[in-house]
Every structure is written in structure tokens, then in C-alpha cells.
């Protein structure tokens, strides 16, 4: 550390979103020189808890890893246990899972566009997208019985079938949301409020994204075409046509555009699945005990690749259950994105990976000149950001 850097701790409360982690940020004036990440503030020992619960209880524990991508985690878990059991899920259940997974992506991406607007001090956008998000949350409630933590899956299929009324309601909702997303897609690239704060901010070069094993929209906004739905298809994705959206911008603006593009694709996938929904049962009964074995299951969650590993031992409880949520995969990239950037751009660059701390897990500033240290919450940081950019 040279004599001109300064360490500023940001977090653990509110580093960007209302969730805890700590970043020790070394700054030289307004420039970020180094970032050290500390996680674990919301570590709940979930992996240990799986070992003490049977597979059915695990199904409900797993969706509590994350309130936003409950479906992604639960689907990954169900696929995992079904593979160990050697069970093939009815095709109708695969389609219903795909529909709910895409509804979840729409809700998550709309939520994120709103949060991104909030981080740059433009709360109107936040209110717009969150109003639209209500539409999809209501559809979730209609289809599953709950707005969040849907408990859609059972091991061997889905818990609830879609009725013709539900299908027509979801289709109607998709038509409405498609119009809204068209509006965002045409407005955002022309809107200076966003572009001034997003273009050229939080750069992640393609070679760095690959080397640091970034996932999801963060990776695809660096021009890398990787998506579990295409590269390791599960549920009904092998039969449904869709595009993997990428962008060459490598900055926050590119991450916005990738997510907006993915909203269109999700609507397309949901519509296709609704129109081609096969008839038949939605669930098969499965035994309580799972034969000894091991399996790796992958799902494209809204934030990127979600991987679960399960080792079974022939009983009704797993020997080992491992979860790696997408946010953890993107933390290494965050450090690279922040380095060389301005302190005022930390909130938006951090928010751009759409971090989910509960899935994974503060920021400290150090001034290299006086070795002084101080802590900032995101509110302090956001205020500094708005003031600095307002000059």
C-alpha cells in the first residue's frame, strides 16, 4: 500500500442493497485502487442443515436460500434428487416448471432495473418497473398460490397444475408486460439520466469475465454467450426456441441492455410453453429413500448459473448437499470492475451484478495518503455519489 492510498470500509450494512457484506476499498483520491471482499454476514449454515433433514424437508429449505430466485434453487434441487432417483418427470411438469422459472426471471429483472434506477438516484424508473413487477407477482400467486417462495416443485414434478383460466390470465399478463418492456427497451438507451451513469462504468473485459468465471447477465454483457438453459438444457428448454442475449459493451449499460433483452426472451419462452403445454399428469410418486450416488445439477437462475451437488447414501437424508448461488461466482469480477473506477460509481457497479447476499453474503475505504479508515453505509455512498455526479 503506497502512502497515497486510503482504506474506506463500506458495509456490512447496506453496501448497495438492503443486505450485508463488507468491501474494504483502497482509494487514491476518488479512484479505487484495490478491493478486498469479506462475506458471511448472512451465512446461515444451510448446507449443514440439509444433512439433518429429509429430501422433502430439503425441498422447502432450498427455496428459502433466496427470496427472489426461490424457483431456480428449488428446481435445481428437484432435478438433482430426481436424477439420483432415476425418475423422469412428466413432460407437462417440465413445461410448467419452465413457465414459472421464466416468470421468476421477469420479476427478478424488473426488480433489478428498478434498483439500478434507484442506485443512480432516479426513483421514477424504480416506481415504474416495480409497478410492472406487481403484474408478474400476481400471476405467480395465481399459478402457485404465493407471490414469493412458491413451493412450485415436488420431487417428481410440480405441486399444482395450470388450469385453462390460469393459462389465459398468464398470456394476458405477458402481452401487457411485452408492451412495457418495449417501452423500456426504446427509452433506456436514449435516456441520458441512465446512460451518463452507466456507459463506461464497471468495465469487465471478456477475457477477465472468462478467467474469473463470471456467470449470467454479468458474463453475457461482456459478450460471452454462455447460458445453462442452452449449454446444459433442463426442463423444457431443449424444445423451446430462444436467443441467448449478449452485449459487447462490457459496462453497466451493457448489463442493463442484456437484462432488458432477456425480459423479451423470457416472455417469448413463457408464451411458447403456454401454447405448447403437453397434456398429462404433472407429478409422479417417488420413494422416500434415495439410492447412494452423487449428482451435479445446474440451472440458469436470474443472476446466472446456479450449481448444486448432492451425495446420497441410500437413506432419506443427503450425506452432503452443496449449493453455489450465482452471486458468489460474480464477486471476483466485482473487484475487477471497481478497480480504476470512481468511488461515486461503486453503488451502481456493485448493483449491476444484481448481488444477492443471502445467497452468498460491507465496504471499507482506505485513503492511501493518510492510512485513515472509515465506514460508509450505502446511503452515505449513494449521497456522495449523487453529490459528486451533480457537480
Amino acid at each position: 500500500m503506497s502512502e497515497t492510498t486510503f482504506t474506506v470500509p463500506v458495509g456490512p450494512q447496506h453496501p448497495a442493497l438492503k443486505e450485508p457484506e463488507n468491501l474494504m476499498i483502497s482509494v487514491d483520491g476518488e479512484r479505487v485502487v484495490d478491493v478486498k471482499i469479506r462475506l458471511g454476514y448472512v451465512h446461515r449454515g444451510g448446507e449443514k442443515a440439509f444433512e439433518a433433514r429429509n429430501y422433502t424437508q430439503g425441498l422447502y429449505l432450498v427455496e428459502r436460500i433466496c427470496g427472489i430466485c426461490a424457483m431456480a434453487h428449488q428446481l435445481c434441487y428437484a432435478n438433482n434428487i430426481e436424477a439420483l432417483l432415476g425418475v423422469t418427470v412428466p413432460r407437462r411438469a417440465d413445461y410448467i416448471r419452465t413457465i414459472i422459472a421464466e416468470l421468476e426471471r421477469i420479476h427478478s429483472h424488473l426488480l433489478w432495473v428498478g434498483v439500478a434506477g434507484h442506485e443512480i438516484g432516479w426513483d421514477t424508473l424504480f416506481m415504474y418497473t416495480w409497478r410492472d413487477r406487481e403484474v408478474v407477482l400476481d400471476l405467480m400467486e395465481l399459478a402457485t398460490g404465493n407471490r414469493v417462495t412458491h413451493a412450485t416443485n415436488a420431487i417428481g414434478g410440480v405441486r399444482r397444475d395450470l388450469t385453462p383460466e390460469m393459462i389465459s390470465q398468464i398470456s394476458k399478463g405477458m402481452r401487457h408486460l411485452e408492451e412495457r418492456v418495449k417501452y423500456y427497451a426504446s427509452m433506456i438507451p436514449k435516456e441520458r439520466t441512465i446512460m451518463k451513469r452507466a456507459v463506461g462504468v464497471g468495465i469487465l473485459k471478456p477475457q477477465d469475465a472468462v478467467a474469473l468465471c463470471a456467470v449470467g447477465p454479468t458474463l453475457r454483457a461482456s459478450g460471452i454467450k454462455r447460458d445453462v438453459r442452452r449449454d446444459d438444457p433442463y426442463s423444457a428448454y431443449d424444445e423451446i426456441p430462444f436467443e441467448v442475449v449478449t452485449h459487447d459493451g462490457c459496462d453497466v449499460a451493457a448489463r442493463v441492455m442484456v437484462r432488458v433483452g432477456e425480459l423479451f426472451e423470457s416472455i417469448k419462452i413463457a408464451n411458447y410453453a403456454l401454447e405448447h403445454l403437453p397434456s398429462g399428469p404433472v407429478r409422479v410418486r417417488v420413494p422416500i429413500n434415495v439410492p447412494a450416488g452423487e449428482n451435479v445439477s445446474l440451472v440458469e437462475a436470474p443472476r446466472g448459473e446456479d450449481i448444486h451437488y448432492c451425495k446420497s447414501n441410500g437413506t432419506d437424508k443427503p450425506e452432503r448437499y452443496k449449493v453455489r448461488a450465482p452471486t458468489l461466482a460474480n464477486w471476483a469480477s466485482v473487484a475487477t470492475m471497481l478497480k480504476g473506477g470512481y468511488v461515486a460509481d461503486i453503488p451502481i457497479a456493485l448493483a449491476a451484478i444484481d448481488p444477492c447476499m443471502s445467497c452468498t453474503d460491507r465496504m471499507t475505504f482506505t485513503d492511501v495518503s493518510s492510512n485513515k479508515m472509515w465506514h460508509w453505509t450505502i446511503e452515505d455512498l449513494r449521497r456522495h455519489s449523487a453529490k459528486w455526479h451533480g457537480k
Binding site: 462475506l39 474469473l212 449449454d231 452443496k322 453455489r324
Partner: protein, 170 residues
């Protein structure tokens, strides 16, 4: 019959490349291969599949308590030019629980960094050559040599150890 030609090819080339250092290899199902290698050949194996099969992505590193040993799995993913889908290779290396250590693979795939630190926190595996194995997820003041995901480490044991370091009987 599900086509597993590419998976078999990975298994065969690992056999040829690693010879006696490959302890076990099996194609579990479509797009899933499991292999066990000696700790000494771990880096060679990772470097090989990275160059030969485009496995540049490490999805995560999983630690498993296997009794007297800690099994560490490197879930590597990738595809060769022209392939439509990716294959996940779970490369396993075992290390004794009494003194668990493995070479770091972060110089080959920097993205493995957080995952190795997590396994270090949870299982006490030392990744040789890794510059900073300070706690990533365990809190400050966590008692030494308590590795939460090892089987012998029960919740009561963790509570008593934390009690000792904090000088109370929680």
C-alpha cells in the same frame, strides 16, 4: 439410448494422459463425468482438460467429508469448438483429514479463488500456493481448527468452542 460419445472421449483421454494418477473415472450420465485423480496430478489434470476440452469455467469447488479423508471436487465446465452443449467434469482429489492440503488451481483458473477459500473455511483444507487464506465466510473470532462442515463438528461442539473463545458458556 442416450448418446455419450463426447463424455466417453473425455474419460478415455484422461486415462491416456494421467495413467496411474487417474484413480477412477466414470460417465455418470449425459454431460456429466466424474473422475478421481491423485493430489500430485491435480494441476496437470485441470490444465489438460482446460486446454483440450475448453473447460475454462470452474463452477465451484465442493468439499465432502469422506471419513478419514476430505474429498475435494472441482466442477469444471466447457465445450470444444462446434459443440452445442457443455460437459461438466467433476474432478475429485482426496486429502487426509489429519493434514488436508492440495495445490491451488487459481493460477490456471483465477475464478476458483473464492471457492478454494470457502473450502478452507469449512473443511480446513490448505490450498498450497494460494496467497491469502484469511476467512471469507466465517466470522471474526471464530475458534481455530473448528471446521463446520466436517461430520464430527456438531452444533453443540461449535457452541462449546465459541463459548471457550468468548469466555462464557453460551
Amino acid at each position: 439410448m442416450v448418446e455419450t460419445k463426447r463424455e466417453e472421449e473425455i474419460a478415455e483421454s484422461l486415462k491416456t494422459k494421467l495413467e496411474n494418477n487417474l484413480l477412477d473415472v466414470r460417465v455418470q450420465r449425459r454431460r456429466r463425468v466424474f473422475a478421481t485423480v491423485t493430489p500430485a496430478s491435480l494441476r496437470e489434470a485441470v490444465g489438460f482438460v482446460k486446454d483440450r476440452f475448453g473447460m475454462r469455467h470452474v463452477s465451484t469447488v465442493t468439499g465432502v467429508d469422506a471419513g478419514k479423508e476430505i474429498a475435494v471436487y472441482y466442477h469444471l465446465m466447457g465445450k470444444s469448438e462446434g459443440d452445442a452443449s457443455e460437459i461438466t467434469l467433476s474432478l475429485r482429489a482426496n486429502t487426509p483429514k489429519t493434514e488436508p492440503k492440495l495445490p491451488t488451481i487459481t493460477h490456471l483458473i483465477p475464478g476458483a479463488s473464492f471457492y478454494e477459500r470457502e473450502v478452507h473455511d469449512m473443511f480446513g483444507v490448505v490450498f498450497e500456493g494460494y496467497p491469502d487464506l484469511s476467512p471469507l465466510v466465517l466470522p471474526e473470532g471464530w475458534p481455530a481448527n473448528v471446521y463446520p462442515l466436517r461430520k464430527e463438528c456438531t452444533v453443540d461442539y461449535i457452541k462449546s468452542e465459541i463459548g471457550k473463545t468468548q469466555g462464557d458458556s453460551r
